[in-house]
Subunit: 336 residues, 2 copies
């Protein structure tokens, strides 16, 4: 059994992007396992924009993390040793494992860790991506909030990201015209050529708003919004009356303290419904949704991609990659 654990502690709250030392790698002894506990080795960490929100000095939808504590993180771990009847060695679980190599699961917490089944052709890491939080976010955002109808025009921002790429494909399954907004030509090519988006526009080109207009000749009925700021502004300008905005994320604002939306009055003028949502509200239905996503994946209706880094020490770099748009699809750090 291992006797030491490597952990990333939150030592300082970042201003803007993460700076060296905000998350500090330390080694600490692993305490002996108590009755009712299980020790799990973290295999993969899910790198998500929300982690930046968690670092702030305020409670959010989860309580703030005290400085000096292990940084919160979602991941997949494999049970290495168990004194808890709910888990046996070799079981794989997903949950808030924390940014560390080992996590001790105590009896009380055990319900927040979910065992993942072994499914042919489905990799473990898929349970962090297409079948995990980001895939489920796309699933519930589309099916429960957007409720797309055939023939409607859906625009997805951060469309080549882990959530956006799945949301757009679910839009295609529902018969929408789907237009993605992404930050490189390669990402746009991936969206249209591999994922079946009807069009994609690179917001770093100066004429991208004209291209967005050309790609949405009937206006926009649904905005699956992951970015906020100037990109959301441009999408709202093309929304149809009575359109819906699925407010999933505002990544453009997470590294500043006040993500603002400037053309807010458009919501009145166009009678838009802006619905904020968090996937955790749908947790009772995660299994059903993951099963549906798994079927779509197996039948080729949904494709996914991962960007993977190796080593716990790469996590700060990986988080900053999100805000630079340096990943395509799900960003994961392989720990073990």
């Amino acid at each position: 059994m291992p006797t030491t654990n490597r952990q990333l502690l939150l030592q300082a709250r970042p201003a803007g992007l993460l700076a060296p030392g905000d998350l500090q790698l330390t080694e600490s002894p692993l305490p002996e396992l108590q009755q009712g506990q299980a020790l799990a080795r973290v295999k993969f960490l899910s790198i998500d924009p929300t982690m930046r929100v968690w670092m702030a000095d305020r409670d959010n939808y989860l309580p703030k993390i005290p400085l000096g504590n292990v940084m919160r993180g979602f991941g997949l771990a494999e049970i290495a040793e168990s004194k808890n009847p709910d888990f046996k060695k070799g079981d794989k679980v997903i949950g808030l494992v924390g940014l560390q190599e080992y996590v001790i699961i105590t009896g009380n917490e055990s319900r927040s860790f979910q065992k993942v089944p072994a499914i042919p052709f489905i990799s473990d890491s898929a349970f962090l991506g297409v079948l995990g939080i980001t895939g489920l976010t796309a699933y519930f955002g589309m099916t429960e909030i957007a409720k797309p109808e055939k023939g409607e025009t859906l625009v997805v921002s951060a469309a080549a990201g882990a959530t956006g790429s799945i949301a757009g494909q679910i839009g295609k399954i529902h018969g929408c015209r789907v237009v993605g907004i992404a930050g490189t030509d390669d990402k746009c090519k991936w969206l249209t050529e591999d994922l079946g988006f009807d069009a994609a526009t690179n917001y770093k080109h100066p004429d991208w708003k004209e291209k967005l207009a050309a790609a949405t000749p009937q206006g926009i009925d649904i905005d699956f919004e992951n970015v906020g700021g100037e990109i959301m502004h441009a999408v709202l300008d093309r929304m149809n009356l009575h359109g819906r905005v699925v407010l999933c994320g505002l990544i453009s604002g997470y590294t500043s303290e006040n993500p603002a939306l400037e053309n807010f009055a458009t919501i009145i003028v166009k009678r838009l419904r802006v619905q904020g949502f968090l996937v955790i509200d749908f947790s009772a239905r995660f299994m059903d949704a993951a099963t549906q996503l798994g079927k779509w994946k197996m039948f080729g209706k949904i494709k996914d991609r991962e960007t993977m880094l190796e080593g716990l020490e790469k996590v700060p770099e990986a988080i900053n990659m999100l805000f630079a748009g340096a990943n395509t699809g799900k960003l994961i750090v392989k720990v073990a």
Copy 2:
């Protein structure tokens, strides 16, 4: 028959508040009435925040007004002469009469003017206020968008205004705890002592946010938002999870080009539904709604107040009064 008309023309688009000369008073000859036309004398003009939005150099929910044209305005007029079988002398109509003393209603436009009935104890001007656009806005915003349930906490901003004062009273009829935000102690007193609001807070007092918190011990379920900006910011901070924001107006931003909302991410964190709406979408049901409002008014369930100025030339001053919060209840200019 009159041969001249006095009109307010939109000569310049205001930056911020209206400046002298933005609306210019002119006299022009009244053309002779053609077959199918009716001449109506404007009695009352409804002064509403949306007029400032109409003055901007862009199409909105209505097309922009070309410079040099008669400024758009809603009001009540009395038919003075008619060559149209739909109208007879003495009929009173409401509609977009324009900021002028006389309006010629042509056959094509006649459907956009609605005759108002003579009802005992109901003044003509009530058809611009409690039974008119602002009352109807409150009615549909509350019953169709907010859908309040008994025991919920409703906060109304610009609560002593024409729409807010009615919205809050409809909240009381539905069994809500109703808290108003207004800009003078007198208005707050009117809300609690005359209109039955449970509490009211004056946002010009430095400790108003603490008072808002004290007045909403169970948090806020519904925000009937008329103001935006810093006031909306403070209300969102006290919203309960899954709360609803009825986005009725953003008066704090109408005199700037970009009304921004700073704590936009709160909509995600609290999973809020923000629904923009315009009363014109419910025009097919105006008569039913006005009947209900009339009943409530007659039975004392809803009280209203008017602030009235006299003379067409007072319109620019009246519009600016709205943005200074100088009116209580419905602001009206009596023309004839």
